[in-house]
Symmetry: C2
Subunit: 627 residues, 2 copies
């Protein structure tokens, strides 16, 4: 096999084997499916503090109350999702649950929320990951946008290449992060009671050190802090969406894993939040809360850097989960007809690649627009997550009601409670965060819905339009709508006589005797040379038309001439255009050829669309291979 | 005419009328051709100060010496370029001059430098323009990357739309900027002598206020400051490159305009630099030198904001000049065979659009990588500019030597002096700015040169390969390299029977009797339906092959089957593949169709490339119009 840069960059065209195809144990499933949820611990506490500090450093004392409230909500959401495991053992995301229980409209709202979620998971996780690195290495602080964009590009590239998704490689960052954070919490509690913290070094430039605040500590402010903290539970739904990857008994194992995840998440989140309170940590613009805490507890040695690096790794891993989730969701929606069919993953690599690249592009746009600032992205993030939670819980209520098997009342109550709790969270977030970015969600949703409907409508219309009624088919003349095979007129545009144009001419003559070759003379004296070559080939003189183009334009005079040929003998139908097309040996060489072929094709289709309604012209590209 | 979003976004497909086509007066030519040069005043002084302050605020007293040295260099460069007007009255950029006087290699070095220049003109001007806005509105300061990217996108969009290049609209920003700056200098000098400045408000956070410095004031530091200041004369070559746009006598008018430009540029640059010295202005990260000066001289009223806005406008206009210059240069290089032919502007809009989009993309990449920071971009910028200056001056020396007409010794001396001065500047910049970014130029140049040569080589080889020797043509069998027109085998891949597939089948049967329709059954029970529809159409049963695909892959089994058909009867050549292709009514609907057609086409060409060396398969797309 030849060496190829493209292969080096994008990998062998192997079919993508998904993790789903092999059952995995709980010990492996936990880190793989929970990196998104656990990594939220890296920013959720900081987000709460950032809001509270607006009412001055004294307001930071509200931290524990909010943290406990959020932990309770985590518990409620986890118990609610535990039920989803039994209802949808094949994995029921909000989209599937909504579609089966509430019909199309609600499922599309869920789909829109989830798509926004996936994009924001990438943007938030990557920017938070970069923040954990710039906290440890302040010299990089002015490059956050560039670093975040580069990180997204690297993750994209790995996904396009199709990295062998080795469970071990995925386990390491999660367990490392959990280990470092638990260690920090343990040592932190010990030091708290022994009063042996390393001093936190606040410099006079820190904006919020012993800060008076600009806002009063109102209920709204506390609600806003709560909304920000809700980002702690993003990603918790991953386990119930992927029940099928577990070893048998899959449902039980998934349930247990979800329980472990919830306990671990609450432990980490509460631990970090209480330490932040105990250490009087003040949110800084240039250092994450976890980094400040690491300095205070571990000092400046290996353990501190280990904490920061493992935080960055789990956050990048969390971003990576979107790169498998987004294309899969897009494929589901596409099969239902609401997204372009090229996103349907039919086992071919290209389909998944489309989804991956769209996700990367959207995430990069968000990162640049929001200056790679996690704080600014969070309000937008939480709305979608909680809306999807609510829809999923509400769907489960309907499932239990429909089935009404043993114990249904209990199950229904739990999900009702979950739906109400998450529903209230949606309203709180929307209300308290509206001006800070949640309004963007309200703007984006109708646009996404409109897109879904436009696409669906188009497929419906075109399918109907193309449908063949068999009654029609019996009449011979109805069939011949496109070309009269008897004596078609054929046009061959060319600029030189070479092996490629000769091949095109040969095929043209095999189609019909009525062949016209057209060449554009852009006034560099090539016309006479061409005419001579034409004669040398033994073709008849009147079959070559050379047109002068004073404006150096090639396409326009060609189109004008082809239109005139179409009109000369209407019964023969539209002229068939036969064009030579170079097939270069290397993919990049495609950029060097065929631009006129490409432009002419486009112009001819455009002509067909605007002038010959209903009739389409056959365009044949006769390829020739270059070496 | 139908309403079309595309038309709204990209404008009518009118041929681009260039400014060249209408002769313009000096009063109009000056602002249009000099926005790039004059706008440099907005950042050049600040760049000098930023370097000097490294040796402490006392080092800022070296400012006037450096400013005078640079003004002298501006004079030298202007006088040298004045000569270019007579030597190349049709407009001779560094590329043309180098090509005619030093041959291909040197011309490609010039071409590479100029291409880098154009990209950096966009990046530097846009970021400096955004800086002038964030200086006046500090609330926007954290969004510089996003603002700069958005500005590039807007300029790109206007250029893709092809704005009517009205001279008046282009004159306003330049004259406004000149008026505001001259007014500031005048009032500034008055206030200087009457000691009536508004106080400059340095806050304690300004990094450099009464700063001790971190570096000694060495000669190297002064050279570095000089190199940074050299950015003042970027763009000065524009007039001599566009002599043909002037009213007759064009050469005289161009000469006079260049003289006015040089005088104006020196006045503004010296004025701003001396005021910066007199006002003891210290470079700040959050406010440009011009903005500080504006505050000190105009206070905070209308005049200050007028200054900032007009600065931003002239800088954006300067960025805009690259959007006409870059595609034009790319087109020239492409005609010589060193860039892809699709960049050749042959009167068709698409060709120019390619150049515009490549320029925008490269500029955006630079802006994001350099955090939209003008300081960081400047070192990279100046090398290319001065290298192009030097090559152009050196070329002129050869011109005068070759011609040796009356007065040639004088002319030759001037250009020799210019070449030496700018050549020394290149070395100084390279040496003093190497670690700060100039090394990137050294890395980029060989890559660009390699690209030029690879492209040239490819065109040479493929032209040679495709050449027809007429001796061959007399033998009948040599002509038939691609398809035997006698009894070709034809394959029609399809998934359903609809009007589009029927049209494709009809054309297939017009080519040959040996037609095979192939369909892939992805296991959703459509196979039986298809077979029934096939029979209803009256086709023979054995002409339809339905293949099962367990992996949901469509392309792979199709390719395997087509290969088998190729092999059954080698004399008939490769099978012709006829595919239906949907032509939607609106361009975005293209995203919703034809992905299988696209993928199969790609796979078939890939198969041809790897397995059937030398033989290429004809692929026919039979279009059907959707409404």
């Amino acid at each position: 096999m030849q060496f190829s840069w493209r292969r080096l960059l994008l990998g062998d065209p192997i079919p993508r084997k998904n993790l789903d195809e092999q059952a995995i144990s709980k010990v492996k499933a936990l880190p793989i499916l929970s990196s998104d949820a656990l990594s939220s611990v890296a920013y959720a506490t900081g987000e709460i503090l950032t809001v509270l500090v607006l009412a001055g450093t004294t307001a930071l004392s509200k931290m524990p109350h909010i943290a406990i409230l959020i932990s309770l909500l985590i518990l409620i959401v986890a118990v609610s999702y535990r039920q989803a495991i039994h209802a949808y053992p094949k994995g029921g995301g909000a989209y599937t649950v909504a579609r089966e229980n509430f019909g199309v409209k609600m499922s599309l709202i869920a789909a829109g929320s989830l798509m926004i979620d996936y994009v924001l998971t990438v943007a938030v996780s990557v920017t938070a990951g970069v923040f954990s690195i710039t906290s440890a290495f302040p010299i990089l602080a002015s490059h956050v946008v560039a670093l975040s964009v580069i990180a997204v590009i690297i993750i994209t590239w790995m996904n396009l290449r199709g990295v062998q998704e080795s469970a071990t490689a995925f386990m390491a960052p999660t367990y490392l992060f959990v280990a470092f954070t638990l260690l920090m919490i343990g040592v932190g509690i010990f030091r708290y009671f022994t009063h042996s913290f390393h001093p936190v070094q606040y410099t006079p430039t820190s904006d919020f050190f012993s800060y008076e605040g600009t806002a009063p500590l109102t209920t709204l402010l506390i609600l806003r802090a709560f909304s920000s903290g809700c980002s702690a539970m993003t990603g918790i739904e991953a386990i119930s969406n992927s029940v099928s990857v577990f070893q048998k008994p899959a449902a039980e194992n998934a349930e247990k894993t979800l329980l472990y995840l919830a306990m671990l998440l609450i432990t980490l989140f509460l631990g970090v939040s209480f330490l932040a309170f105990g250490l009087h940590i003040v949110p800084l613009n240039d250092q994450s809360v976890l980094s400040q805490m690491g300095h205070a507890i571990f000092g400046n040695g290996f353990l501190y850097y280990g904490l920061q690096v493992s935080t960055c790794l789990i956050l990048l891993l969390a971003a990576n989960t979107s790169f498998t989730g987004f294309p899969r969701l897009a494929s589901l929606i596409s099969r239902d007809g609401y997204l372009p069919r090229p996103l349907q993953a039919l086992g071919d690599r290209l389909a998944f690649s489309n989804g991956i690249m769209i996700l990367a592009l959207l995430a990069i746009i968000l990162i640049v627009l929001f200056d790679a600032n996690t704080h600014k992205l969070i309000p937008l993030y939480s709305v979608g997550v909680f809306l999807a939670f609510t829809i999923c819980q509400a769907g489960l209520i309907k499932v239990w009601w429909r089935r009404r098997k043993k114990g249904w009342i209990f199950k229904l109550s739990i999900n009702t409670f979950g739906a109400i709790a998450t529903g209230i969270a949606v309203l709180v977030i929307l209300d308290s965060k509206f001006t800070e970015g949640a309004w963007l969600f309200i703007v984006a949703m109708p646009i996404i819905m409109l897109m879904f409907y436009k696409i669906y409508q188009h497929y419906q219309t075109s399918d109907r339009e193309m449908k063949v009624s068999y009654a029609e088919l019996t009449r011979e003349d109805e069939m011949a709508t496109v070309v009269k095979p008897n004596a078609p007129k054929v046009v061959v545009p060319l600029s030189k006589i070479h092996k490629g144009t000769l091949a095109a001419l040969e095929f043209a003559f095999s189609l019909s005797d009525d062949v016209t070759a057209i060449s554009i003379d852009i006034g560099e004296g090539d016309a006479a040379k061409l005419r001579k070559a034409w004669e040398n080939c033994g073709f008849s003189d009147e079959q070559l038309v050379i047109l002068k183009s004073p404006y150096l334009s090639v396409i326009e005079p060609l189109i004008t001439r082809i239109r005139r040929i179409d009109l000369t003998n209407p019964e023969a139908g539209l002229a068939i255009v036969v064009m030579p097309k170079a097939l270069p040996a290397k993919w990049w060489q495609n950029l060097l050829h065929n631009h006129h072929t490409f432009m002419l094709r486009h112009a001819l289709y455009e002509l067909g669309r605007t002038e010959y309604k209903g009739q389409a012209r056959i365009i044949v590209e006769v390829p020739y291979q270059l070496h």
